[in-house]
Symmetry: C2
């Protein structure tokens, strides 16, 4: 590792941070929490396809990295709210933009795939 952090260096700690922020569920959790705070069960409903285990693991990783704040209220039944820290909001704004960009650009990607597959078929015909 050089003097300054470099994600292209497999040993640099920044590589792992980037992997947490861009992990399959990390991206979606950060983007969701940018809009509002969530309880665990609400967040699980919001993010389609995430298992309880993966969501718990993702939230814990993001909490340890200082991106997510976990607020356990001493009430019965127990209530736990998740929200972004300031650091987490910095990351979340970027992945939120990326998520919205992806949604907008899906038609362009699908058109590209059709072209790619047709070119492949033509090349092997």
């Amino acid at each position: 590792m050089g003097v300054s952090p470099d994600v292209n260096d497999a040993m640099c700690p920044s590589r792992l941070v980037l992997e947490h922020v861009t992990s399959r569920w990390g991206v979606l959790v950060l983007a969701a929490l940018l809009e509002r705070s969530y309880r665990f069960s609400e967040l699980r409903r919001e993010i389609g396809g995430v298992s309880e285990k993966m969501l718990a693991q993702t939230l814990q990783t993001l909490e340890r990295d200082g991106f997510v704040h976990r607020d356990a209220k001493p009430v019965i039944p127990p209530r736990v709210d998740y929200s972004l820290t300031e650091l987490g909001a910095e990351a979340a704004r970027q992945v939120w933009e990326l998520a919205r960009w992806t949604e907008r650009r899906v038609p362009a990607v699908e058109a590209a795939r059709v072209r790619y597959d047709e070119a492949r078929r033509a090349a092997t015909a």
Copy 2:
């Protein structure tokens, strides 16, 4: 799936596109190609820890999605250059920013982890 693409819907095609853009190697490939075009072997040296197989797979996925242009020159020895399409550059600018942000914020993340681990130790002591 609703009328407009939604990455929170596990069945929405945008989910998979987001996963390609934010995949472990996809992020690093897009960010590297934003700076200049690369030959395969150069890119492999640039991105620490990527295997030949994973890099080839990542490039093929990004090419099929219309993000990466593969230019095979008819020379001996064979020469293949990879560069970004316009669509790919849109994605790459965002992940490049995220990579640079991550590198800048590593110290804040490391400080948060120390706090988290200390709080955990205190709670179980």
